[in-house]
């Protein structure tokens, strides 16, 4: 492919013409050299195209993952009813319109894997790190566009393996998204521990490769390719958040990878890393001396940072969007960066709070309690800063602003229940109950996806040159936030009663069967919420072709660099020289001409002080 138009020659001359003129001329031939379809749309090395590839793959996975949750919600809500439509779609697995327990667990496992990894990691970081890092720091592309392309295609390959695993005879992996051995290691233990589990492991190994290729690229791009004047402390908080997301991934995914490799060995080559003293399938196995708990340590060493890999991009985007639409600088820019550093550091030393009841030393548990509750402090700082950003603002509502406010609300609700679970003395009862489901779905699942939706509504015009329909957007927002609370709020009570998660049917339990009616209610709400997500998907794809066209370069009145590019930016982002940066990214103030913001490219006025 021809990248001749893109010369990273480092001549960062200031370009005043770009900074003030927000009314772009009609986009002229935006590609100097017409590229072949394959190189432009498929094996593209343009970070903007790769970000579109990530988001569309992510959306497809999100539909599959969410549909699975609807299937198993039908079982949970109405265990005695048969749904012929499920038999039609799932065949043998839902004979007579009722899920088999084996496939119920497979659906639960796939729902978790898909949403956590394929949607909220690849779909979220992949999309926005690719789109925003080069555009917001003023780079023509990633440090290595080729590696960036590989990152997507490894993700694609990983997706193919995961998709194939859905169709094998013994079904996909069914040991939960955490796939603890021995359940996941022994083919005798469950059907899903057969070929489905092998495919799961291959897929996840490829996923780790994709994530590392991406992460290394993001970090080196942020550190090396900032335009002239773009010091680290002039970077928008989105870039900061995406940088730390990448750091988390690069440092923790290899540990998960090693965990998976050992599991592959235990499954196929007779080693005993995780296996010891097991009698299953009518015989005693020869494995001795391994520790099933070792896997959990390796898994959660990624597994916990993974939560922040999901949260940080949302935090960054919410900060940006709250500030832009409050027409006010983000409150406490440096405090926001410091709290990101704090969260990133602490994320590595709290993993064993997922393992309080594995029989580990109570002393070790107490250390993790202390470290876990420490992480509440930077999280609280972020919340207070968001609230103060709204304070005395001039708030302008659009769909992304709604999602950003929803993000903050959900982050508070879900974060506070973390204080229960992080305290081992309370976790000992709540562990692995519906309380946990409610907690992580609100704080990580829904809140994470709200951050993503906010980002999509905000940067959709940058990606496609058109706007998403905002009427549909408002319907999407309000139904989703109301639905999310209706689904997950009642689950707290079920968890407080001790109702375990991952139960196919609760009818034989004296202690839990009183929750059956509420389970039915939750299931109905989740179907409605699912339908509204389809409305969003429709809005997304329809608006790519039919949405209202963007007519100005900077529709939201933002200060950051991505809005100085053309409406349809070329591969290389800026037609002329890369703009030079003169000020911090949240200069919302009187610009002297009746405007309320000053783009980063505008030089400081005489006597004007730099933001410190």
């Amino acid at each position: 492919m021809n990248n001749a138009a893109i010369t990273l020659d480092g001549s960062h001359l200031s370009h005043p013409a770009i900074s003030n003129d927000h009314h772009a001329e009609e986009h002229h031939a935006h590609e100097h050299h017409e590229q072949h379809f394959v190189w432009k749309y498929i094996f593209s090395q343009d970070h903007k195209m790769i970000s579109k590839q990530f988001i569309i793959t992510g959306i497809i996975w999100a539909i599959i993952g969410a549909l699975f949750s609807v299937f198993f919600r039908l079982q949970l809500g109405f265990p005695d009813t048969s749904f012929p439509i499920m038999e039609k779609m799932l065949g043998e697995w839902a004979k007579g319109g009722k899920l088999t327990p084996e496939f119920y667990y497979a659906l639960v496992t796939m729902h978790g894997t898909i949403l956590v990894f394929f949607v909220l990691t690849a779909g979220l970081s992949g999309t926005f790190a690719n789109l925003l890092i080069p555009l917001q720091i003023g780079a023509r592309d990633m440090a290595s566009p080729f590696m960036n392309m590989l990152s997507y295609w490894f993700f694609f390959l990983s997706s193919v393996f995961m998709l194939v695993s859905l169709f094998v005879e013994t079904g996909p992996a069914s040991g939960g998204w955490t796939t603890y051995p021995p359940l996941s290691a022994l083919k005798e233990a469950s059907k899903g521990a057969g070929l489905g589990m092998d495919l799961w492991l291959i897929s996840m190994a490829l996923f780790v490769v994709s994530s590392l290729l991406g992460g290394l690229n993001y970090i080196s791009t942020v550190l090396n390719m900032r335009t002239k004047g773009m010091t680290m402390t002039r970077m928008p908080l989105t870039v900061w958040a995406l940088l730390f997301t990448a750091v988390l991934g690069v440092l923790s995914f290899p540990v998960l990878f090693s965990g998976f490799v050992l599991l592959i060995f235990d499954r196929n080559f007779g080693t005993s890393f995780y296996l010891s003293e097991i009698f299953i399938g009518g015989k005693a196995l020869s494995h001795i001396g391994g520790s099933a708990i070792l896997y959990q340590h390796l898994f959660w060493f990624l597994g916990h940072p993974e939560v922040y890999i999901i949260m940080l991009p949302g935090m960054g985007m919410a900060s940006e969007i709250l500030s832009i639409n409050s027409r006010k600088p983000i409150f406490g820019y440096f405090a926001m960066i410091i709290s990101l550093v704090g969260i990133t550091f602490l994320a590595f030393v709290v993993w064993a709070h997922h393992m309080f009841v594995t029989g580990m030393s109570p002393f070790l548990g107490s250390v993790f309690v202390l470290l876990t509750l420490c992480i509440a402090v930077p999280s609280a700082v972020k919340v207070f800063n968001w609230l103060t950003t709204l304070w005395r603002g001039n708030i302008r509502y659009n769909v992304q602003m709604c999602f950003a406010i929803g993000f903050v609300s959900l982050f508070i609700s879900g974060g506070l229940t973390g204080i229960f679970l992080g305290n081992s003395a309370l976790d000992i009862h709540l562990h692995d109950t519906y309380f946990v489901i409610a907690h992580f779905h609100i704080v990580m699942g829904v809140s994470g996806i709200f951050g993503m939706f906010a980002g999509i509504y905000h940067w959709f015009p940058k990606m496609f040159g058109r706007f998403l329909n905002s009427t549909l957007g408002y319907i999407h927002f309000f139904v989703t936030i109301i639905g999310a609370y209706l689904i997950f709020w009642p689950m707290h009570y079920e968890g407080i009663a001790g109702m375990p998660r991952r139960y196919y049917d609760i009818s034989s339990w004296q202690s839990f069967k009183q929750f059956q009616p509420i389970n039915g209610f939750i299931s109905i709400v989740s179907i409605i919420v699912f339908a509204v997500q389809l409305l969003f998907v429709f809005n997304f794809f329809f608006s790519i072709f039919r949405g209202r066209k963007m007519t100005t370069k900077n529709p939201w009145g933002a200060t950051s660099l991505e809005w100085t590019t053309d409406i349809h930016p070329i591969h290389g982002n800026w037609e002329g020289d890369i703009p030079e940066v003169h000020r911090w990214p949240y200069d919302y103030k009187d610009d002297g001409n009746g405007g309320d913001f000053i783009p980063q490219t505008v030089p400081l006025r005489p006597g004007e002080e730099n933001h410190k």
Binding site: P101, Y105, S174, G176, Y180, L183, L186, E188, F279, I280, G282, S291, S326, R327, K328, P329, G359, P362, S366, L370, L373, C374, A376, A380, F384, L387, T388, L390, R392, I395, R396, Y397, I405, I412, S413, I419, S424, A425, L426, I428, D432, T433, S470, F478, I482, Y485, W489, P490, Y493, I496, P500, D505, Q510, S511, F515, L534, F538, N539, R546, D596
Partner: protein
């Protein structure tokens, strides 16, 4: 075919909503963008307030609905401690929850852009505010950690010397309970000696302590009220978890590793029946770690009774040795099939 028609209908509805949305956007351009923006602002900001008020009402209603179902009566000392700590945490987080959510939605309403409000107060940072709201959560967390660790060390403390010892072992998909018998000592067991026909736990018959051990394969455990008990927890195959909601306890059962739980039940099953007004009340042991397709049916029960009732029950229990008369069968690999598994599940459920 029907599915296809439904799909088309849904798509049609989406297109219609989309077009309505689009036409309203076009109309807004005609009516003047500024005017419409302010109107949208007013609507959305008010909806946020409505959302908040309805939310608070919903939470209140939800609490009413779940009042009787939520925390079951705690049936041991540490369980009562647990409940009070839970309530303290709930109070702290509850206050923060209502305060921050109220502020969020109030600001969202109050500071909306309107005819009166044309620009914001460009206020970008304040170090003293940052210090205040770093310190306050830090202090709150310190208090919660202090309470938590006190309870944690209490609940994980070694069992007192006079505690009765009961072993509970998980397998797909039921619980096996072993009592030490007259000598008060559990014999050695070896997973290589397990045999589903006549040695479910792999007791090593060369150890004399095993001779009087009693095994219950029905998943029913008998405990004495007000007498400390130490549970020895193990697993035969995959990871299970002994979940005891009424005692606010939980511990994984991991193959190859032995874990323990100790507590003192304070209410008998009979008392609980009157207390809860539920004649079918029973303490349940719930498996809390996904262990395979029968996970949800891996149910055990606990009967808490007085010493006399317990002694009378115990006297009737045959030892596992006498019941299974092992003729020192060598556990040949694969001589029993696991086809018996679903039956075991049913057994556990009938209980």
């Amino acid at each position: 075919m029907a599915g296809f028609i439904i799909f088309l209908l849904v798509l049609l509805v989406f297109v219609i909503i989309y077009q309505i949305g689009k036409s309203s956007e076009l109309a807004s351009i005609i009516r003047g963008e500024e005017y419409v923006k302010l109107k949208t602002n007013r609507t959305i900001a008010s909806l946020f307030v409505v959302f908040f008020i309805l939310g608070i009402y919903g939470i209140w209603k939800c609490n009413e609905y779940f009042k009787g179902m939520m925390l079951p009566v705690a049936a041991c000392k540490t369980g009562e401690r647990y409940d009070s700590m839970f309530m303290v945490t709930l109070a702290v987080t509850g206050v923060v929850f209502f305060a921050t959510q109220a502020v969020l939605f109030w600001f969202a309403f109050k500071y909306q852009s309107s005819e009166k409000r044309k620009s914001s107060y460009f206020f970008s940072h304040s170090n003293s505010l940052e210090v205040i709201w770093t310190t306050i959560p830090a202090i709150a967390m310190t208090i919660l950690v202090a309470i938590g660790l006190r309870n944690w060390f209490e609940v994980t403390a070694p069992a007192p010397a006079n505690a009765m010892v009961v072993e509970i072992v998980g397998k797909q998909f039921n619980w096996l309970v072993r009592y030490p018998g007259k000598d008060n000592e559990l014999g050695v067991r070896d997973f290589r000696k397990i045999n589903d026909a006549n040695n479910v736990l792999g007791l090593d018959w060369s150890d004399p302590h095993n001779a009087d051990d009693i095994i219950s394969a029905t998943g029913e455990m008998h405990l004495v009220v007000n007498r400390p008990v130490k549970l020895l927890i193990g697993s035969r195959d995959v990871i299970h978890d002994v979940g005891l909601p009424h005692f606010r306890l939980k511990m994984d059962a991991v193959p190859g590793i032995s874990s323990t739980l100790s507590f003192t039940p304070t209410i008998t099953t009979a008392e609980m029946k009157t207390k809860t007004g539920n004649p079918d009340f029973v303490y349940e042991i719930a498996c809390d770690q996904l262990c395979g397709s029968g996970h949800y049916s891996m149910r055990g029960t606990i009967i808490v009774e007085t010493q006399e009732e317990y002694d009378a029950w115990m006297a009737k229990q045959p030892t596992y040795y006498s019941n299974n008369k092992p003729t020192e069968v060598k556990p040949v690999a694969g001589n029993t099939t696991e086809k018996a598994e679903p039956k075991a599940t049913e057994k556990a459920m009938i209980n």
